[in-house]
């Protein structure tokens, strides 16, 4: 029963709007990603100005779980918008020899992702990389 409720809530969430600090309603499906900047949470939409949301990124991560995924302590991205991954540090192969296995694995989890609707690449840090890979079905 609880699984069903979770699924229904997730489906309904895509049709909901969130309320910005200035009172405007922002449809969840229009949000590309959320980012925290100087204590504010900004919702980034395609071709529009960033909109400031109340609360912090952790609270939004909980609220939008299943539709959005955290890739960095400052970024929460819409899963549906993820287009591709890019190497984050493509020009540093020499350093790898000195890294431990754990460090290598962590480095492997770091990348950048592109989203449909923006040219900006979003960083993915090792802390969130493994979870993101699992969600996207890479290296399973």
């Amino acid at each position: 029963m609880s699984e069903m409720l979770k699924r229904i809530e997730k489906i309904l969430l895509t049709e909901k709007s969130v309320i910005a600090k200035d009172g405007t309603f922002v449809p969840v499906k229009d949000i590309l990603y959320l980012t925290s900047k100087r204590g504010d949470v900004l919702a980034i939409l395609a071709g529009k100005k960033p909109i400031t949301l109340p609360g912090n990124l952790n609270a939004w991560e909980k609220l939008l779980r299943g539709l959005f995924v955290q890739t960095h302590r400052q970024y929460l991205v819409a899963l549906d918008r993820i287009e591709g991954t890019f190497e984050r540090f493509p020009e540093e192969p020499e350093e790898e020899k000195r890294l431990t296995r754990a460090e290598l694995r962590a480095k492997d989890d770091e990348c950048e992702i592109s989203l449909r609707g923006t040219a900006k690449r979003i960083p993915v840090t090792a802390v969130y990389g493994q979870k993101l890979k699992k969600t996207l079905g890479i290296g399973v």
Binding site: M4, R7, I11, D80, I82, G84, T85, L136, G137, I138
Partner: protein, 139 residues
């Protein structure tokens, strides 16, 4: 909870799965050489085939726009990953198809299928081994 209600809830859950599939994107080889992985929207894919095309031997994902994407995974591996996806099913040795993209069907010993946005039919897309299951899913 009575047994009847549990079964009913299971059915509802299955229907919900149809609206909200457990997997929505599939990693494929990107066109952009700078990109490491491209995530193809499974809702745009008509069928997946091992038949070599455009001079390539990899597994091919054909989209409704007529654009092809490729993966190094074998069709069996892809089928395994999509086993819980309600829109996809294996229909022949060479094809895994998206049931929601079918726009036409010709009945012969096998089934030729027409897909959304693709002019040419896929000949023998459904073979006898998979026919019963295919027809069951279409109902």
């Amino acid at each position: 909870m009575p047994r009847g209600e549990t079964d009913l809830l299971k059915q509802v859950l299955e229907k919900l799965m149809y609206l909200d599939p457990p997997i929505k994107k599939f990693p494929v080889t990107p066109e952009d050489p700078a990109m490491a992985v491209y995530f193809l929207d499974l809702k745009d894919v008509c069928y997946i085939t091992t038949k070599s095309d455009q001079g390539r031997e990899e597994t091919m994902f054909m989209t409704s726009g007529g654009k092809a994407y490729f993966s190094n995974l074998r069709l069996t591996e892809i089928e395994k990953r999509l086993k819980d996806h309600p829109h996809y099913m294996r229909t022949s040795k060479f094809y895994v198809i998206n049931l929601t993209k079918i726009r036409g069907l010709k009945v012969s010993s096998a089934r030729d299928l027409w897909f959304e946005g693709i002019k040419e039919p896929v000949v023998n897309a459904v073979t006898s081994t998979y026919l019963a299951e295919f027809e069951k899913k279409l109902q």
